[in-house]
Symmetry: C2
Subunit: 341 residues, 2 copies
Amino acid sequence: MARGSSAAGGRDAELDLLRQIRRRVSTGAAVALGIGDDCALLRIKDREQVAVTTDLSIDGRHFRLGWHPPEAVGHRTLARGLSDLAAMGARPLAAFVSLGLPKDLVQREGRRPAWVSRFYDGLLTLAARHKTPLAGGDLAESPAALADIVLVGAVPRGRALLRSAARAGDAIYVTGTLGGSAAGLDILSKLAKKRGGAPAAIRIPKRTSALLHAHLYPEPRLAQGQWLQRRGLASAAIDLSDGLSTDLTHICEESGLAAEVDSSAIPLGPGATLQQALHGGEDYELLFTARPHLSVPGRLAGVPVTRIGRMALARHNTPLVMLLMDGEARPLEPLGWQHFV
Amino acid sequence: MARGSSAAGGRDAELDLLRQIRRRVSTGAAVALGIGDDCALLRIKDREQVAVTTDLSIDGRHFRLGWHPPEAVGHRTLARGLSDLAAMGARPLAAFVSLGLPKDLVQREGRRPAWVSRFYDGLLTLAARHKTPLAGGDLAESPAALADIVLVGAVPRGRALLRSAARAGDAIYVTGTLGGSAAGLDILSKLAKKRGGAPAAIRIPKRTSALLHAHLYPEPRLAQGQWLQRRGLASAAIDLSDGLSTDLTHICEESGLAAEVDSSAIPLGPGATLQQALHGGEDYELLFTARPHLSVPGRLAGVPVTRIGRMALARHNTPLVMLLMDGEARPLEPLGWQHFV
């Protein structure tokens, strides 16, 4: 709201920050025009559709400044968006990030680089691995730290993987292992409590860092999603951001079907319980369905693929998802991530 | 961070809200797949480029919950994004809005609809006028109210209006009038102070509402931008979001030029001072340049167009923008909107 007034220091700090970011941004082949104009301009092939996803991450809700290293916040912010593209079988064209930050996160901490620089370290390292240029964004002062990530991708017309196209009898698969992110978050919260909850990133002991990896640095399954899309192998797909119970419910709702999951088949992540695998969320693995007679490889681009259940016809007054456990079928309620609690 | 726990009421409220929004969203011709999957899918013509812009609006910084009616916050959020497309000469394909809201803004206030419903009223009314479908977004609980708007548009390859393509000698034009938004904000702040700053939207007296209109409901100049792009008439363009002094500086910096503005030629908005017209921002008019021999119409799609100055060669150690006033040339510093103060 501060119109018509100027603080030279403020403007200089902003310009420095923008320049710094601009220098670090590599423009990729798809970016005809990047940061510095009213819009970015992206190249796309003829006969492709544009895939767009946005995800908002807020301090205290999707991450905690006192728990998560800034690099991990940057990585996780981008991973959320890339994972949505993976679930459609799309290839990334460019990312955009809008940051709202309290002033102190833009300033250096003594000899350490500012929080925001370390955030970009994490984000740009993952972006480089997936050849995703950062083509723009916005920056504003905010009482709470937050990042809104936008990913724009491309997919051949009519060939995207949808949530709504599963068929009764289809087998259900997941990539990788589940629950590792929730298990890592559990360790992180215990470390934070031990430390007394002081508002600065906690030191992570070396021996636990491997267990935390799935939570802090999840890997979006872009190669796997694009492989499934090219081969036409998956009938439906979604990424496991909210948790298996909730995300499988989404596929059921959008496809007008029910599902059965075999609990003993679910691949558990390191240190994860079955509950964390069912409801934990943030694993960013792919959940997909395929016709039962199709041969699905046991690994895709180095990541294991596991068959965990099957799609079925929905019946009136019956829960959408059933869990088979100890020879018994019980309802699996969608108890994963909620956007509003 | 609330994984693995469920409050039935919370989930129901969220689902109700998502259902409500989904019902109100009209999918346009460009939206192959809207809200309800991992990504939205947009159709684009062959030989077009994708234009993307994101803008973050935060309570206390870009709007105030206690000052701005929710409908105006929704309108202004979308107008910021549409105006960026207008400045590139792009046509809108779809909008996406990520909302972070404190819980009470999602709940009904007695008999009145929830703040968020009225926000969508304002946003969707403007969206319908510009045939821009809302194709997705995100929703999360947040300590501060905020909205990140994403606009995706299309423009013929290599034909977008850029900030960087002005040439020395080009004439400088603006659409509409300037400073009206800042003048309206001034009235709004006085009304709020009189009322004692209670944290609820102030009542706006009928006699002042016309003066507030430019601030609360600015009109993005899409038709004008697309007309200039189709005719190839403008050499460079930008939208006036930060203020004439700052936005003209952007054109100078990106084009490697200087500029002179004739203060007496600047068309003032209702109730606006010259200072508000120079630095106020948020008018969302277009600022563009054109070769001096070209004949630019005095009106574009019903909106006046005014010649206010000319581009010149930049000289070492000389201010980029000069203001001609009372027969004297003085430096015009970029004193408009700052993202960080």
